[in-house]
């Protein structure tokens, strides 16, 4: 893996004129342009970014640099970027050029970040391996040391974002997480992936998958980098009615702060029921690394874990089936001709969506249809409340919850054909998503095959500051152990 360069070190180098904004961009752009792992749907060239680079350099020259000035970022191709093709990795949007900038990417631009390009992802963010992209699968830069020629998945749906950061083509990348789409690929690529509390980061301008679950967040090399990005993007947005106006913290400040009181971390036994010893070892590693601190680990048990995936695979497809109705070939996107209007709809949508998206639209349509709504959709919404309450009950006892991020290491491209087997990838991340809680995946060690594995730390609502502080500590201790 390429040498990791932190945002703070890069900002310092830029400030101290050890490197120019242009040179920094070129350095990352060179890797991105090769697109060796297919982690980009589109790479922006230096010419396109010329004026942004110049303005950024100027601010450094004036000593008036912004928090992310000149930092090259990847952006999941799910964020609408003004004047830049935004496809959601779908054929149906393959020619779509938004005339608006998503709220989140606008914040990054406002803070001086420079976009390298649009990262590949699962089509409409539906997938856990980045294999559903219309533009082909993304390859995990990590190799199985026992079988180094195998191409592995980077996880998904923000697989391109994770691979891009891992391959060193951008400093960090913006992902989105609906049921684990930031945390799972971060874990499989040895990175930090943060899904903030639902409502922290505006969904305005992000191609919607499941509105009540979608949340933007960073995939980064380090916890500190995640704090940099979170500081930029976590803001109330009036234009997103589900955006929260809960006060935001400065997540960078005091990230090094020592624990000032005893912390209790719950480890849910039900998460560890059917996992491999290698996965259990990740939890053990983490526990051990924190042995010198005033941290108590306690067993906790959820009552609803077994129902989370079912709940998710009703709610998310239901919302998706409706969110994706707008792709009809009439106002934008790819139109397939037909003799009459109905044929245009049918042809455009059938040819425009891939298998997994089609499957989820069908599931969603079914669970909302007359006669099935109560049994499936309404029941899932009720269970969702039980899941949320379950977390709140556990949070009465503990400050954080520690779980594995994924049940397995990165697997081979093409290996998992059965959709349900694929859905199981998100078994540890989905409950958090349903409850809307913040979760972060941290690299915790390597598998026997030399592949990265991660642990997930879950905090209570809007506890990102403490979550990042603790994560920072774990990161430090775990790398010390390595």
């Amino acid at each position: 893996m390429p040498k990791k360069q932190s945002i703070s070190s890069l900002v310092n180098s830029l400030k101290e004129k050890k490197i120019s904004v242009h040179e920094l961009f070129d350095q990352f752009h060179k890797v991105a342009k090769e697109n060796a792992n297919n982690s980009y749907n589109l790479v922006l060239d230096p010419d396109y970014q010329k004026s942004n680079l110049e303005i950024s350099q100027e601010r450094y020259s004036n000593g008036k640099n912004l928090p992310l000035d000149g930092i090259p970022l990847g952006i999941k191709d799910l964020f609408c970027t003004k004047g830049i093709t935004t496809t959601a990795s779908s054929k149906i949007l393959s020619n779509f050029i938004p005339q608006y900038e998503s709220f989140v990417t606008q914040q990054l631009l406002n803070d001086g970040a420079i976009f390298i390009g649009k990262n590949n992802c699962d089509e409409f963010a539906m997938g856990s391996s980045n294999e559903t992209s219309h533009f082909g699968p993304v390859v995990n830069p990590w190799k199985n040391k026992n079988s180094p020629t195998e191409k592995l998945v980077p996880g998904g749906s923000s697989g391109g974002s994770a691979a891009a950061v891992a391959e060193g083509s951008c400093v960090a990348s913006m992902g989105t997480d609906t049921g684990g789409s930031i945390r799972q690929p971060a874990s499989l690529c040895g990175l930090v992936g943060l899904k903030p509390t639902f409502g922290s980061c505006s969904r305005w301008g992000i191609v919607a998958f499941a509105s009540s679950l979608d949340q933007a967040g960073p995939i980064t090399n380090s916890v500190e980098d995640a704090a940099y990005i979170l500081n930029s993007i976590s803001k109330h947005d009036f234009n997103d009615s589900t955006s929260s106006n809960h006060p935001r913290d400065d997540y960078l400040k005091e990230i090094d702060k020592k624990l000032d009181h005893k912390i209790k971390i719950g480890i849910p036994s039900d998460y560890l029921k059917n996992v491999t010893p290698e996965i259990i070892a990740q939890i053990e590693n983490t526990k051990k690394s924190l042995a010198g601190y005033d941290i108590e680990f306690v067993d906790v048990a959820f009552e609803t874990t077994d129902y989370a995936l079912s709940t998710y695979y009703i709610i998310a497809p239901a919302e998706a089936s409706s969110n994706l109705a707008r792709y009809d070939g009439i106002r934008y996107g790819v139109r397939e001709e037909g003799g009459n209007l109905d044929d245009i709809y049918l042809n455009s949508r059938t040819s425009g969506f891939g298998d997994e998206v089609t499957r989820r639209i069908l599931i969603g349509t079914y669970v909302l249809s007359a006669g099935y709504y109560d049994a499936y959709y309404r029941q899932a919404q009720k269970v969702r409340r039980l899941i949320k309450d379950d977390f709140q009950r556990v949070f009465q006892e503990v400050d954080f919850i520690l779980t594995p991020t994924t049940p397995n290491e990165a697997f081979k491209i093409g290996e998992k054909l059965d959709p349900i087997a694929m859905y199981m990838n998100d078994v540890f991340t989905v409950p958090t998503s349903l409850a809307g809680l913040p979760g972060i995946s941290l690299p915790s060690g390597l598998s026997a095959n030399g592949l990265p594995l991660g642990v997930q730390l879950i905090g209570n609502y809007f506890q990102e500051k403490k979550l990042l502080q603790l994560s920072h500590l774990i990161e430090k201790e775990l790398s010390f152990n390595e």
Binding site: G199, S310, I330, G338, L362, A380
Partner: protein, 93 residues
């Protein structure tokens, strides 16, 4: 679980499954619906559905007009247009 009418579901979703794939999707749908069927075991008779974890919104607008885009901005991604209209084959009612 009763039969899934894949033709009806796909038509509602405005999808035209190629006949050779109908069985593939139909089976997959049956499998997934069976898989999520475990939710039926839970007694939720006293539980209120949860639509969203954000409980209250502050996003209620005053009745003010804002224009931040041109007509062209809205039309320039259109696959087919006629002047400032979107164009589609004749709709018969």
């Amino acid at each position: 679980m009763s039969e899934i009418d894949i033709k009806r579901i796909s038509y509602l979703a405005k999808l035209k499954l190629p006949s050779e794939k109908e069985e593939f999707y139909s089976q997959s749908l049956v499998d997934i619906i069976q898989w999520v069927d475990n939710l039926k075991k839970i007694d939720t008779s006293n539980v209120k559905p949860l639509h969203n974890v954000t409980e209250a919104t502050v996003s209620i607008r005053n009745d003010d007009i804002e224009k931040n885009n041109s007509t062209e901005d809205v039309l320039n991604n259109a696959p087919e247009r006629a002047q400032n209209f979107f164009k589609v084959p004749k709709v018969v009612e």
